[in-house]
């Protein structure tokens, strides 16, 4: 797994500074990481996550199947989507797919929510 650039930077400077500073910087790093994690989760509040998960299973499931093995719409199981770019899925959910019954969900779902839903599909965590 690739480390984020900023993290590598901090690690390099880690050895050039005193113990107190190191302690302080470690604290900062932890705070920063916690903050990042908090920010990502804050984009889709937990209560909304439940609504989205329910919608994915029940409403998307009407066409894609409750087990996501497909129906009128294609299968969305982890194996089926593994080789498809995430952007394709995000854009399909937001904009729909002309020429097929897939409707656009822009206006009902935010981009952050679509992002979260697509990650759920790739994790197979529906």
């Amino acid at each position: 797994m690739q480390k984020p650039a900023s993290l590598v930077c901090i690690n390099k400077s880690f050895f050039r500074i005193g113990t107190h500073q190191r302690f302080f910087q470690t604290g900062l790093l932890i705070l920063l990481l916690l903050g990042l994690q908090f920010r990502v989760e804050a984009e889709v509040p937990v209560a909304r996550q439940d609504v989205l998960r329910h919608m994915l299973k029940q409403d998307c499931g009407s066409c894609h199947g409750l087990t996501l093995k497909g129906g009128l719409g294609p299968a969305l199981t982890v194996n089926e989507i593994a080789n498809k770019p995430r952007q394709l899925l995000r854009s399909t959910i937001l904009n729909g797919r002309p020429g097929t019954p897939m409707p656009p969900f822009r206006g009902m779902l935010t981009e952050e929510e679509v992002h979260w839903l697509v990650e759920l599909l790739y994790k197979g965590d529906v």
């Binding site: 299973k57 499931g61 009407s62 066409c63 199947g65 409750l66 093995k69 129906g71 009128l72 020429g99």
Partner: protein
């Protein structure tokens, strides 16, 4: 002494037979007031009765029921459940037990039972086609692959219904065709194909007299009509302006055509994509009126006497049901039975309607004259409700 014995024996006999007939009187029942409700997320169904408005039994192990429908044997004892995962399950509703289950395809959309009750046909998405089974044993009788075009591709099959004469009619979503299969000789089906009926037929229905088969088209405006009494005239296009129109409005749930309300001279149809119910003259298939409604209609169902039409709606406006008076063609009542209303079913003569609210885990029962809520039953994510009165109707 002997006389006394005889009297005693007689008394004993009367008491015994009395007991027996009393006991059988308690356990025997008809199925005419019974039905089955799909619990879509848990792969189960509940068997209910509409006289006391109670649930009698739950049957489990039916697989993926995200899209499921039911037909009944003609004795209205067995319910056949067609599940999304290709499962075909036979349930004995009197015993409340699963009799047999076969996985007949990878992905299925619905089914029908033949006029004589001996054959079941299932329409499949993967692999695309129709499979026909013996209704008693669930043994495969005939396989009809929905092959089309020069490359021999398989099409998803939708809108499968039964028609008089041991026939089944269905539409090929990817091919834009309607096929009529005659199963008078069950192992040797005779297929008549109607090509170029329109782009992406997504569902079909047959009128309750078995005469008109109509397929809805998703890919273009208009409907494809096959007059079963005049097969040689082929498939005709009707209602050229019926559909999503120039703007191709998004559709958040495909309308279900099975519920199309045919009442007297008029048919009440769900508009596709628009918040309207269309009223169409059944004789010339010309539009008469459009009625503005709460959302995109999914089921537009007539009460058995045809005096009212009940409508439910697509996500996200699916907490509402509206009632249209068919004489004035106006909305006379708006009800909010619960979250995610998926289906409605009338009691055989229509004095009550059962409504499923998927997200409230509830089936609510309403009086169709006073609109008073009479009762409700707890069900897990209920979707389709199917009463045994369907056993004796063409196309259901």
């Amino acid at each position: 002494m002997h006389g006394n014995m005889l009297v005693r024996c007689c008394l004993l006999f009367i008491v015994l037979t009395g007991h027996i007939s009393h006991a059988t009187g308690d356990t025997l029942r008809g199925t005419g007031d019974m039905g089955v409700v799909i619990e879509r997320a848990s792969g189960s169904v509940q068997i209910i009765e509409t006289t006391g408005r109670t649930s009698l039994a739950q049957v489990n192990g039916l697989g993926d029921l995200s899209h499921a429908s039911i037909v009944y044997s003609r004795d209205a004892r067995y319910a056949y459940v067609f599940g999304r995962d290709g499962g075909l399950t036979k349930i004995d509703i009197l015993k409340g037990k699963l009799v047999k289950r076969v996985i007949q395809s990878g992905n299925s959309i619905g089914g029908a039972i033949s006029q004589n009750g001996r054959l079941l046909a299932v329409s499949n998405y993967t692999p695309g086609g129709v499979k026909v089974f013996d209704a008693h044993s669930l043994e495969l009788v005939a396989d009809i692959p929905a092959t089309y075009g020069k490359q021999g591709k398989r099409s998803k099959v939708v809108g499968l219904v039964d028609a008089p004469g041991q026939k089944f009619v269905f539409s090929l979503y990817d091919a834009g065709e309607i096929w009529l299969a005659d199963l008078s000789k069950p192992t040797k089906p005779k297929i008549k194909k109607f090509r170029n009926v329109g782009n992406q037929p997504y569902d079909g229905l047959i009128s309750d007299d078995g005469r008109h088969y109509i397929a809805g088209l998703f890919g273009e405006d208009g409907l494809a009509l096959l007059d079963m009494w005049n097969i040689n005239k082929g498939v005709k296009r009707i209602l050229a302006h019926y559909g999503r129109g120039q703007k191709k409005l998004p559709v958040y749930k495909m309308p279900h055509l099975e519920g199309w309300a045919m009442t007297g001279d008029f048919a009440f149809l769900p508009a596709v994509g628009q918040h309207e119910v269309l009223v169409v003259n059944r004789h010339n298939w010309q539009a008469k009126k459009s009625i503005k409604v709460h959302g995109q209609p999914v089921f537009v169902m007539a009460r058995p006497d045809g005096r009212q039409v009940w409508v439910n709606y697509a996500f996200p406006r699916n907490d509402t049901v509206q009632v249209i008076d068919t004489q004035s063609m106006k909305i006379i009542k708006t009800i909010k039975p619960g979250k995610a209303v998926l289906h409605m079913e009338f009691t055989p003569r229509g004095e009550e309607v059962w409504i499923s609210s998927r997200d409230d885990n509830l089936v609510s029962i309403y009086d169709t004259a006073s609109f008073e809520k009479l009762s409700s039953l707890a069900m897990k994510n209920p979707s389709g409700i199917f009463f045994t009165s369907r056993a004796h109707r063409i196309g259901l």
